[in-house]
């Protein structure tokens, strides 16, 4: 058992139960001998190289939190008003007070001269939100005081605060997948007509579990920067893009944004647009591939081998050009960049774009292949069937019974309301 080896003697301790015998070489285990030193040095180098203890310690002292930047904010203000209703639309009952108000009452108008070109005076339109008190509570108290006094102030305050509204659901899983976006010009329709239009969007969103985002066209005058834009039909189309930008901000987690022009009605509320057109398997058969951008004989055509899941923008066409009375945009950063470059100031003020955003998007798609590869054209009858103004027989572009959406953008002033009333009676709602 315990031999009398080397130096120490091992006596059995009284309290221990049993100890294994020590090996004979126990006293000869000296790690740090002279012949082991190179191996130990090599081991230390190996561990240092691969595990880098100094780096780990220095990394712990480096600040873990990145710089903090301000959160995104809406177009004209730094504060948001959160709502948990997925139907965002302006207060229509106040619109009679807004009609006929001059520009400097609903917006802050200033005239500036550029120091480099002192003879040119430019008009700058800014929202009244820029005059807000930075403290939210003070501003709210001020507005309530104003509202109590006069209905016109109430209308103006509601008009300007509409920009701040952002959707924040009570239950984050219950987010609407598709948002129906419309920009309404309160000078164009009567209160009754506007109510019908907005009610139509809200009804559809309610039946299909989507969201609605409606704004006044006049709210986007800071981006258009000239009231004359709203006077002509072609220039007023630019509001569509700015309204979509605002909608993207208000519903950050939606999947799709569908813009429907104010001169349209959703006729068949049974159709769920995702299954009808937006899902990959639904979009694939109706995408028009190798379709000239400018029918019938344009040189640049849409691509042949695009896949439906890479499409970010869906537009329609009329007989001679691309139309944006009804278009769909996905919610991701590429689509955001397409929308923003489409609405940039240099295109807005470009003289050679006769049809406003329609010409702009045609130009973009013709010159930029990356964007063309993310865009597709669908037949007009799917989401933008036109009202039959010229009383021709039904074609691929005009509305017939059973189509999803009808639009009558080419109307002249009093006729628009009549057409609206006529179609409003024919809207098919799902049986509850």
């Amino acid at each position: 058992m315990f031999g009398q080896t080397g130096g120490s003697k091992f006596k059995p301790r009284q309290r221990q139960k049993s100890i294994l015998p020590l090996p004979a070489t126990f006293n000869r285990i000296h790690t740090l001998q002279r012949k082991n030193i190179p191996w130990i040095a090599l081991l230390i180098l190996f561990m240092w190289y691969f595990f880098n203890p100094f780096g780990v310690i220095a990394g712990m002292f480096r600040s873990a939190t990145p710089n903090s930047y301000p959160p995104p904010h809406p177009l004209t203000s730094h504060n948001v008003i959160e709502t948990n209703s997925r139907f965002i639309y302006p207060a229509l009952e106040l619109s009679p007070y807004l009609k006929g108000l001059p520009l400097d009452r609903i917006m802050k108008v200033s005239r500036v001269r550029d120091s480099n070109f002192p003879e040119i005076e430019k008009t700058l339109i800014k929202s009244l939100n820029s005059l807000d008190d930075p403290d939210v509570e003070t501003q709210r108290a001020k507005e309530e005081a104003e509202n109590a006094v006069s209905d016109v102030s109430k209308a103006i305050n509601s008009f300007k605060n509409q920009d701040k509204v952002v959707f924040k659901p009570k239950n984050p899983d219950d987010y609407p997948q598709v948002i129906i976006v419309t920009a309404v010009d309160y000078e164009r329709y009567s209160l009754d007509g506007m109510t019908k239009l907005i009610q139509n969007r809200v009804d559809y969103a309610h039946f299909q579990n989507y969201g609605t985002f409606v704004r006044y066209s006049q709210e986007f005058l800071p981006q258009l920067n000239a009231q004359s834009f709203l006077q002509t039909r072609e220039k007023a189309k630019w509001v569509r893009i700015y309204c979509m930008q605002a909608a993207r901000f208000a519903f950050p987690k939606a999947k799709w944004f569908w813009f429907v022009d104010q001169d349209s009605l959703i006729m068949d509320m049974d159709i769920n647009i995702e299954q009808y057109m937006l899902n990959d398997d639904a979009l694939d058969p109706i995408m028009m591939r190798e379709q000239p951008l400018v029918p019938p004989s344009g040189a640049i055509k849409t691509y042949k081998n695009v896949r439906a899941n890479s499409i970010k923008l869906i537009v329609t066409q009329s007989e001679s050009m691309i139309e944006t009375t009804s278009f769909v945009l996905r919610n991701d950063h590429v689509a955001k960049s397409i929308l923003e470059i489409w609405g940039n100031q240099l295109y807005l003020n470009y003289q050679s774009f006769p049809y406003g955003p329609d010409s702009a998007i045609t130009h973009i798609l013709q010159w930029h292949p990356f964007i063309l590869s993310k865009t597709t054209i669908v037949p007009a009858k799917t989401i933008a069937a036109a009202h039959n103004f010229k009383k021709k027989e039904d074609s691929k572009f005009t509305y017939s019974e059973g189509d999803f959406v009808v639009q009558w953008g080419d109307c002249k002033a009093p006729a628009c309301e009549q057409i609206l009333n006529q179609y409003d009676m024919l809207v098919k709602k799902p049986s509850k």
Binding site: Y69, P70, N344, L346, Y350, H368, F370
Partner: protein, 331 residues
């Protein structure tokens, strides 16, 4: 030492010579005739011979055991060559480099004038410097010829080659993440610093995204709809007169593809090219000024981190220490 009856082990049968004979005899009985050499019949680890895979491993193990020193040297060389960047050893890099340096060479060459010998020598040393740096850190290097070709008609898109070359290089290196554009007249002064440790590993802290601290062009600092939680896809610097695209980095992503596609647009160019004297730089400034999606993914570095100026550039701000080269600056 006579023969013992109770034990049948060969070793116990006789003296040492007998033991050796007994060893051989029992060996020749159990092995097949293929093996002539006595050494190969026995492995010193006494493990049985299984399949051919095991045989290969066994053979290598045996060789290693026998020639320990050469084996250690070989393994060390293999590790150095594959995993590190030590000099004098050939390296086998199976994958594409993670960062590619695009060097814009031969500027000023082509149809306009002859290049003088000084210009050639500057070019040679610049290229050698970049080659050395790339090899040292395992980066790729792509030298692009910037001869003025007069391919495009008057002013129309001439000197906008940065965009085209960047697109072309991104196609050439499909697996690379970062592309670093360097003008010819630059010199990497501290080649031991790799880009990763200089700022790439610490991107959020090293770059600043808003212009509130340093805004030479007085661009509006605040813009609606900008979400700063997006990753940084392009790193540029600002000098005294605005953005500086002499040395910038771009990551491969769909954002970068979009930017490279839209950077030159005929409608925007037609309206603005009289004001855009620095071409892509000014176009990018205009885009940055008006487009929130661009602001989201551009990060700025202090000028001296990748592009310190020599005295003479930015001469109206000669005293500003932020622009000019000091000891231990990188480029």
């Amino acid at each position: 030492m006579s023969e013992s009856q109770s034990f049948s082990l060969p070793y116990s049968k006789g003296n040492y010579e007998d033991m050796a004979e007994a060893h051989h005899r029992s060996a020749s009985r159990t092995s097949n005739e293929k093996y002539d050499d006595a050494d190969e019949q026995y492995s010193h680890t006494f493990k049985p011979n299984n399949s051919s895979v095991g045989w290969v491993i066994n053979t290598i193990g045996e060789l290693a055991y026998r020639h320990k020193k050469t084996f250690v040297v070989l393994v060390a060389l293999l590790i150095l060559s594959v995993f590190t960047n030590a000099p004098f050893i050939p390296h086998f890099k199976p994958s594409d480099p993670k960062i590619v340096i695009i060097l814009a060479a031969n500027e000023g060459g082509g149809v306009l004038k002859w290049k003088s010998p000084q210009e050639w020598s500057v070019e040679r040393s610049s290229i050698a410097n970049k080659k050395n740096y790339a090899k040292r850190h395992g980066y790729g290097l792509s030298i692009k010829d910037m001869t003025i070709k007069k391919r495009y008609s008057h002013e129309w898109r001439e000197s906008w080659e940065k965009v085209d070359i960047m697109k072309q290089t991104m196609r050439q290196y499909p697996n690379t993440e970062w592309f670093w554009w360097l003008d010819l007249h630059t010199f990497i002064m501290e080649p031991q610093i790799s880009l990763e440790e200089h700022f790439l590993n610490n991107l959020d802290n090293a770059t600043y995204r808003t212009l509130d601290t340093f805004n030479p062009l007085s661009l509006p600092v605040d813009m609606p709809y900008v979400d700063y939680t997006e990753p940084v896809d392009m790193i540029i610097t600002q000098d005294c007169g605005g953005f500086n695209l002499g040395s910038f980095l771009m990551r491969r992503s769909s954002w970068s593809e979009m930017l490279l596609d839209i950077w030159w647009d005929p409608a925007m160019y037609e309206q603005m090219h009289m004001q855009w004297e620095h071409k892509e730089q000014d176009a990018l400034e205009t885009l940055f000024n008006t487009q929130p999606w661009i602001r989201e993914r551009i990060g700025f570095l202090p000028l001296r981190k990748i592009n310190s100026f020599p005295p003479g550039a930015c001469s109206d701000k000669a005293d500003d220490p932020r622009y000019f080269f000091q000891d231990h600056d990188f480029v």
